[in-house]
Symmetry: C2
Subunit: 162 residues, 2 copies
Amino acid sequence: MSVAKEAEAANAKYAASFTKGDLALPPARKVAIVACMDARLDTARALGLEEGDAHVIRNAGGRVSDALRSIVISQQLLGTREIIIVHHTDCGMLTFTDDVIRGKIRADLKQNVDHIAFLPFGDLRQSVLDDIQILKESPLVLDVPITGYLYEVETGKIVKVE
Amino acid sequence: MSVAKEAEAANAKYAASFTKGDLALPPARKVAIVACMDARLDTARALGLEEGDAHVIRNAGGRVSDALRSIVISQQLLGTREIIIVHHTDCGMLTFTDDVIRGKIRADLKQNVDHIAFLPFGDLRQSVLDDIQILKESPLVLDVPITGYLYEVETGKIVKVE
């Protein structure tokens, strides 16, 4: 069975006891989370977020340079005034380089993706510091509190990076 | 108190009862979810996902054209073989145009962002169909099952778009 079919069945249970149909569009806690897409990270459970609380932006690595469109919309149109970045241990982004993935795609898919920056990194802690700096220096991002964490997939803990 | 501080407190509770420290890096259910960043949508709860199950890629609108880097990494390096798209009712992307947000940023931030496509849409159902088509036509995306849904923020239900 496809995961889509399984998700439909799971959703029917979720909707049957759903009581949050009157939440407002802007996030109640005025925060945008930027986190890695990693399957082991459940941002809501790990950070204590309820439906309606926070924008959740996720991509490979949780890289802010690939989240800028969403962050601008979040701040300019929906009023968020804090940003939390979450990268994590054992991240797939530590396992390859642009050259490796570009070569794989050229070999397997016969496509040239030399124009795409896949944003891998070699140092986990530095990747968080780099992303905080990118946001602080961007003229498109408001001067709001920005906090960066490493989520430990081994323990479930977040550790502040500073 | 900042949301970051509150998240640290919530995370301490999560980590205290954490039992999933040995999950593999590749998603167990071999699926990538592409969903809107909207605060009201908890992708894990609404779709029945547990830690380790699925890549979760989220951005403003849940637009696949802004998720392509992550989808390629998900498929090429981490073996996902299904894609689920989730847009939703009352989406903020229905409320503006590129001209509106570009004008606001020019006025408020004194920045020219005419080069950024913010990917708003006027028709919710069509936005899902458009995104399915973009993936099906992309030479960078594998020929895998793709299912699109509208999540109803009023009811908690997902409705398949086809």
